[in-house]
């Protein structure tokens, strides 16, 4: 293979190659070429997305550290909370158990590298359709296998490292059959002055590598797996997936945090995508220093590894720390005490260059900054030619009763207990409200501060209108947090899209970024960081544009989150917000008619914010006993969930003026169903009136059935059987 073929096979374009020659003033050698290829990959360089991300709102009263570091950081009380979300989509398709497991490992190390102790995980998962009663999808068996594998991977890794998985969401849609989405969010906590940054300051300081040995696994993962679409040969890419060792990760968490606590490190960075090459060059470049690395000192898993392999290996569970010379012995001793491997592999220099030696020879010598300072593309984007959205007209194929039961038992709405029971969601004793109902509520370790966390995405909406789809996802996350009484304060995100070199896909991305930015601006929830995953495509089948929004809210002191279920008979049931005839892209449409047609529900962010304020204020006054946000499946599903969680029935009347079936399943935005004492309703009304929020009396909590006047009466036990039994049945 000629050098020219080599750079192309590594994923570099001819122009990118010329730029490297320009930077070095000579032809790169093999190792250097490999380093640039991984560092300039889409996954590491954000070369297609960067220009569009710079205008996002990133500042707010709670934000301590915004985008560009290992994780975003906000202030909660007198503590710092780190948040980060990462995708591991392609690895999970190639090898679901290890793909998902190592996805957890990576995002956890991002948080640890900030000096924060990981305290919670959430997942946003997407798979192809599961088998249904009506039609047998050819890919259903494989989708089932992928679902079970990803869940097992998260379970085995997350449980072992002792970080609770407290929430998330899992949905199924044919578009993800060849390209599942595995987005993992990690939350961490540190003292305010305990936050560390990925910097390698102080020429002469020692560079230590902690954790696992370096092997040939995951070489070129970011360029081969994460930055290219799949074809028939997906299975041959399996060697690019890394294998996780959660026990080593646990040692690495404890070791890293102990070194930080004992003030033994001046800089720390995890080894993730692009391995040692990325960690060394980035931390040096950010500190304006250089680094001299002796590759012979890197503990290897196998002999005969070449320089480029050692530099770009993505072997898991490794961390780079920078230590002042007088503290090196103490740092090594502490690692030994904890059973964690640690080796001094080099030192910080003042040359601005990353120089690597092997066998006494210089094998790579490049400006450290140039690796992270990759190409920047203004990719062309244009809306798809045939953008006419079909207007959905429901045909009454089911009775309202059958439709509700079908929705409750469907893959997207049914209880995901089968999944989250496999996750330890309680370890660390911080889980005030765990998986299974709306946002998770966490108590921060060592304090009484509480936060609420959610992650939400809606690919169906994104496919109809990427800009509004992204806005809806931000609004839904916002609503989920308000419904437990929390004030939303910060966002992180994971953008899952197809190939950015296709102008129509680039357009979807640009639209989604704008929509997300607009909604975050309007709702005062600044963006603290994010992850972009492109090339989510297998065999020409592109996924729906799916931005996942992770959001954190703060619970004021003494605020008691309402129950996700009805609490007692006689309570009034009230709907906050307006219901319109809006079944476009809804779950009703998907489950009952198997279609995807628009238009999307309207979204007024001023109303969203007003409804959020009203519900938070009423919760803080202790008057809201139960609350469920209305999203997938509309009022019908929200009422059913309130009955199921509370083991009590309800009697409600549909709003007049709207076809009752459409009223029941419409997915109009900015709505929350609440239950409260009868005597408190006037106060809610007057509060809502001041802000222009509509309040609709629906009925009362009573009996053992959900009764919707004129439509049906369904026993709560039946609702529960369908809701709890649906998913295990689909998983076989």
């Amino acid at each position: 293979m000629t050098e020219e073929d080599l750079h192309r096979s590594l994923g570099l374009t001819d122009e990118e190659y010329d730029k490297i020659v320009d930077i070095l003033g000579r032809e790169p050698n093999h190792a250097e070429l490999a380093m640039y290829s991984v560092m300039w990959s889409e996954h590491c360089s954000y070369k297609s997305s960067r220009v569009h991300l710079k205008d996002l709102p990133t500042e707010g009263p709670h934000v301590l550290i915004g985008p560009g570091e290992g994780a975003g950081v906000i202030q909660v009380g007198n503590q710092a909370v780190a948040m980060r979300i990462e995708s591991h989509n392609h690895p999970s398709f190639v090898e679901p158990v290890q793909g998902a497991a190592t996805g957890i490992g990576g995002v956890v190390r991002d948080v640890v590298s900030m000096g924060a102790r990981p305290i919670a995980l959430l997942d946003s998962l997407r798979f192809g359709a599961l088998p249904t009663d009506t039609e047998e999808d050819q890919t259903a068996e494989r989708n089932r296998f992928l679902t079970a594998g990803v869940v097992a991977g998260i379970s085995s890794y997350g449980n072992c490292i002792g970080v609770p998985t407290v929430g998330g969401e899992t949905k199924f849609e044919a578009t993800y059959a060849g390209n599942p989405l595995v987005n993992v969010m990690c939350i961490g906590v540190a003292e305010l002055d305990g936050i560390k940054l990925a910097r390698a300051p102080g020429p002469g300081n020692a560079v230590l590598l902690l954790g696992s040995t370096t092997g040939r696994d995951g070489i070129g993962g970011v360029s081969v797996l994460a930055s290219a679409a799949f074809d028939e040969g997906a299975a041959t890419k399996r060697p690019s997936v890394q294998v996780g060792d959660p026990f080593m990760e646990k040692l690495l968490i404890e070791g890293s945090l102990s070194l930080i606590e004992k003030d033994l490190v001046v800089g720390i960075q995890d080894l993730g995508g692009a391995g040692l090459c990325c960690a060394t060059s980035e931390s040096a470049a950010k500190a304006g220093t250089g680094m001299l690395i002796d590759l012979d000192k890197v503990p290897l898993r196998e002999s005969g590894m070449e320089a480029f392999e050692i530099l770009t290996s993505e072997s898991q569970e490794r961390m780079l720390v920078v230590v002042e010379p007088p503290k090196v012995k103490a740092a090594l001793d502490e690692c030994e005490r904890l059973g964690l491997r640690a080796s001094q592999i080099g030192e910080v220099t003042d040359t601005g260059r990353l120089v690597c030696t092997m066998g006494g020879q210089v094998v790579a010598d490049v400006p450290a900054e140039s690796l992270g300072d990759g190409p920047l593309y203004h990719r062309p984007f244009s809306p798809p030619a045939a953008m006419k959205v079909r207007h959905f007209e429901p045909v009454a194929v089911e009775s309202p009763r059958e439709a509700l039961l079908k929705l409750l038992g469907s893959a997207n709405i049914a209880s995901k207990r089968w999944i989250w029971e496999q996750f330890d969601h309680q370890v660390m004793l911080g889980t005030v409200a765990g998986p299974g109902a709306g946002a998770a509520v966490l108590r921060l370790p060592g304090s009484s501060s509480r936060i609420a966390v959610t992650v939400d995405a809606n690919g169906r909406f994104g496919q109809i209108d990427p800009r509004m789809g992204a806005q809806h996802s931000v609004a839904e996350a916002y609503r989920n947090l308000c419904a437990v009484g929390a004030e939303p304060v910060a966002v992180t995100n994971c953008m899952n899209f197809d190939n950015p070199e296709i102008p129509e896909v680039m357009w979807q991305f640009v639209e989604a970024v704008r929509g997300m930015g607009h909604a975050c601006e309007a709702l005062d929830t600044p963006i603290t960081g994010g992850n972009v995953s492109f090339y989510n495509q297998t065999l020409d089948e592109a996924i729906y544009p799916t931005p996942a929004i992770g959001m954190i809210g703060i619970l004021p002191e003494n605020v008691q989150p309402p129950s996700p279920g009805f609490v007692k008979e006689g309570d009034a049931i009230v709907l906050l917000g307006e219901t319109r005839d809006e079944l476009g892209a809804s779950e009703y449409q998907r489950t009952i008619e198997g279609k995807l047609e628009g238009p999307l529900p309207e979204l007024d962010l001023v109303k969203e914010s007003a409804t959020g304020w009203v519900i938070r204020e009423m919760i803080s006054r202790g008057q809201i006993l139960s609350a469920q946000d209305c999203s997938e499946g509309g009022v019908g599903v929200a009422l059913a969930e309130l009955c199921i969680h509370g083991h009590i029935g309800a009697e409600v009347a549909p709003e007049p003026g709207l076809d009752p079936m459409r009223w029941l399943f419409s997915e109009s935005a900015s709505r929350i169903v609440v239950a409260l004492g009868k005597d408190d309703v006037p106060e809610l009304r007057s509060l809502a009136a001041n802000l222009g929020t509509t309040v609709v009396d629906l009925g009362y909590v009573m009996g053992r059935s959900l009764v919707v006047e004129g439509l049906f009466e369904i026993n709560v036990a039946t609702l529960k059987d369908v809701y709890e039994g649906g998913f295990p049945k689909l998983m076989g």
Binding site: G162, F247, K250, E421, Q426, V427
Partner: protein, 236 residues
């Protein structure tokens, strides 16, 4: 007198801080014991907490059973002092020979994390003597992949004859029904005692049911019972 509880930390333990928090919550003094330490002087009781000691590689608890601290724990137990092993701690106690039997993969072959009901089988131990009655039903969470207790028929007969079964998984009525058995354990066994009744191994996590903010409070009965018996033995 305030009892001092030693919480052993193996590499891979992950419920050590939770055990520390809960004993502290109930008013005890606590001290972490790194697995390389062998000095248990000054401790009134030892906790082997949950987690994945040594990654649970080889077999759950198998490597931890050979940690330096475990010889001291054996001596500590032989002196009649209290040892409680929770989840991974129970597995370690079995592997170390302090309790009979073994814990296998759950029936259903999945990790399970959920609150379960257990019935107090007897109150003749320092872990179950305070404010508990035989047949009492407690709700306490489990979180394990390997909680399927197994022992030989002879072992089971001995456990029954000596009244050393501390807890059994049961339904809401206190019946040890098969449907109430979350992992397939023999005889619905959730926890057992050693012959001296000073060593308890149990799969459910009592330390997760102490602080009402994050769970129930039934776990307090077990941990408080330990503390009360320690204070009691001091005053005698």
């Amino acid at each position: 007198m305030t009892p001092t509880i030693g919480v052993v930390v193996f590499p891979g333990s992950n419920c050590d801080r939770d055990a520390d928090y809960s004993f502290d919550y109930l008013g005890a003094d606590t001290r972490f014991i790194w697995h390389l330490e062998t000095d248990l002087e000054g401790l009134d009781a030892v906790v082997l907490p949950g987690g994945f000691s040594y990654g649970d590689y080889l077999r759950t608890g198998a490597m931890a059973a050979y940690s330096p601290v475990m010889q001291s724990v054996k001596d500590f137990a032989a002196d009649g002092k209290l040892v409680i092993g929770i989840c991974n701690g129970f597995q370690i106690l079995c592997e170390a020979g302090l309790l009979p039997g073994a814990l296998r993969r759950n029936r259903g072959l999945r990790f399970r994390c959920l609150p379960v009901r257990i019935r107090v089988e007897n109150t003749e131990s320092p872990f179950t003597s305070n404010s508990m009655w035989p047949g009492q039903v407690l709700t306490i969470p489990i979180a394990h992949f390997d909680g399927n207790y197994y022992c030989t028929d002879e072992d089971l007969e001995e456990l029954l004859a000596d009244r050393r079964i501390a807890f059994r998984y049961c339904d809401v009525h206190g019946e040890p029904a098969d449907e109430a058995n979350p992992n397939g354990s023999v005889w619905n066994i959730a926890g057992i005692l050693n012959e001296g009744r000073n060593v308890l191994g149990m799969m459910p996590h009592p330390e997760r049911a102490v602080d009402p903010v994050v769970g129930g409070t039934d776990g307090r009965l077990i941990l408080s019972s330990m503390l009360t018996s320690l204070v009691g033995s001091e005053t005698e």
